[in-house]
């Protein structure tokens, strides 16, 4: 499996992007990464919060027009 997987969470409103990320993360190994593309600005708060409580790391968080892209690394 590639070290980075992509999650298309466009048009989904929170908490659905977090749920999708949580479900995807459960199949990944520590060190692997998820690149999530979202349209709900709420993810800029919710995904980092979810990462903090679950021991994952936000590597990058950026917005591009109406899209929000977050890259996270799965914790151990």
């Amino acid at each position: 499996m590639s070290n980075r997987v992509r999650l298309d969470a466009r048009r989904l409103l929170c908490p659905l992007p977090v749920i999708k990320m949580q479900n995807m993360a459960s199949d990944l190994r520590p060190g692997q990464e998820i690149e999530a593309v979202c349209t709900d600005p709420g993810v800029l708060h919710d995904i980092p919060a979810w990462c903090r409580i679950n021991g994952h790391e936000v590597l990058e968080s950026k917005s591009d027009r109406n899209e929000y892209i977050l890259i996270i690394r799965i914790g151990g």
Binding site: P15, I19, Q22, H45, A49
Partner: protein
């Protein structure tokens, strides 16, 4: 050495669930949170859709609560399974379309399945005897424990001393004397306990977290079922009921008119599936048409949309009508007069 016991706490994001988890954690129990997403949750979606809500702190209160507690949170999507709870509630509805007792039974049942699968010992909820008219009464709280299958593995730390002993108390996993005996609708004991724990920032007390307890939302959902001819819904239906003004001039169609920019952006995402109308000559909202209106009714809908534009006092307003297939039509239309807008159209 005593084995550390593990509990899963139902976390709604309100104060009671926060306190109940904290009370159990104080006794050395390992706690993780579980939060169920039914699709009817008020926070999150509404805040995300409506731009003016963005001035408020934007946070998911369940995640925030978990972070305050320093525990993991498992958010479970129960949108599909929840349909049966809402459409066929064994214990009926509350004041609106809120099947609170069936909902609580369902969530505790899911939690019971979760603890079995994940080898946890018991379940914690923030329920308080007498706090809610349907699901948190002295006579209905045992029903939740029994019908969910959780039985005596369901601990309500905030009112446990008003209830029969549970297994965690009997087995000594939890000291009953350190649990609480809250009852009734007063919030004072919870506020005092929060102060004792040094918790000063918390979401407003639970109750307003579900759209099904909202009269207007329930009315729109009833309307959807009535004119669809059957009681069913999909996720987009319940999302669209949260957005805009809903106006039904006839049984075969209704308008969903955005109230502000955030709602316009949200409704844009549905333009391929619905006929849409917006004003061109004057500032105005985007509207979706749900149903199958006649051509005459499309013109009526356009006049209604023009009524909500800056050109509402003009003789003519230019509107753009976009069909589901992408075909675009521009028309000059006379906005509906205030007296022509019938109050019974408003949902």
């Amino acid at each position: 050495m005593n084995q550390q016991r593990k509990a899963v706490a139902l976390i709604s994001g309100g104060l009671d669930s926060l306190l109940s988890a904290r009370v159990v954690m104080e006794q050395g129990v390992h706690v993780e949170g579980i939060n169920f997403f039914t699709g009817f949750c008020v926070e999150g979606h509404t805040h995300a859709i409506r731009k003016r809500e963005r001035a408020r702190p934007k946070r998911n209160n369940a995640l925030w609560t978990a972070e305050q507690l320093g525990i993991k949170l498992h958010i479970i999507d129960i949108i599909e399974e929840y349909k049966d709870v809402l459409l066929h509630p064994r214990y009926g509805y509350g004041a609106h379309l809120n099947p609170c007792l069936d909902c609580k039974i369902f969530m505790v049942k899911k939690a019971a399945e979760w603890i079995e699968k994940n080898e946890f010992d018991f379940i914690v909820t923030g329920e308080v005897v007498g706090q809610r008219p349907m699901s948190q009464r002295k006579d209905t709280m045992p029903v939740v424990a029994q019908e969910s299958g959780a039985e005596d593995l369901l601990l309500r730390p905030l009112c446990a001393r008003n209830l029969p002993m549970t297994k965690p108390e009997r087995e000594g996993w939890i000291d009953r004397s350190k649990l609480h005996d809250f009852s009734g609708r007063t919030r004072k004991p919870q506020i005092e306990l929060a102060e004792k724990f040094g918790i000063t920032d918390f979401a407003q007390p639970a109750g307003g977290c579900c759209f099904l307890t909202d009269e207007q939302y329930s009315s729109k959902l009833s309307d959807l079922w009535k004119y669809r001819g059957e009681r069913r819904y999909d996720f987009d239906d319940i999302m669209l009921l949260k957005v805009g003004r809903h106006i039904r001039p006839a049984s075969n169609y209704k308008l969903i008119i955005a109230r502000e920019e955030g709602e316009v952006n949200f409704l844009q995402g549905y333009k391929k599936e619905y006929l849409s109308i917006k004003t061109i000559s004057h500032m105005g909202p985007l509207a979706l048409i749900d149903g199958k209106p006649s051509e005459e009714q499309v013109l009526e809908a356009a006049a209604i949309v023009a009524r909500f534009s800056k050109g509402k006092m003009e003789d003519r307003v230019e509107v753009e009508i976009t069909r589901q297939g992408g075909e675009v039509q521009h028309l000059l239309i006379k906005p509906l007069k205030p007296q022509e807008m019938k109050p019974e159209w408003m949902l």
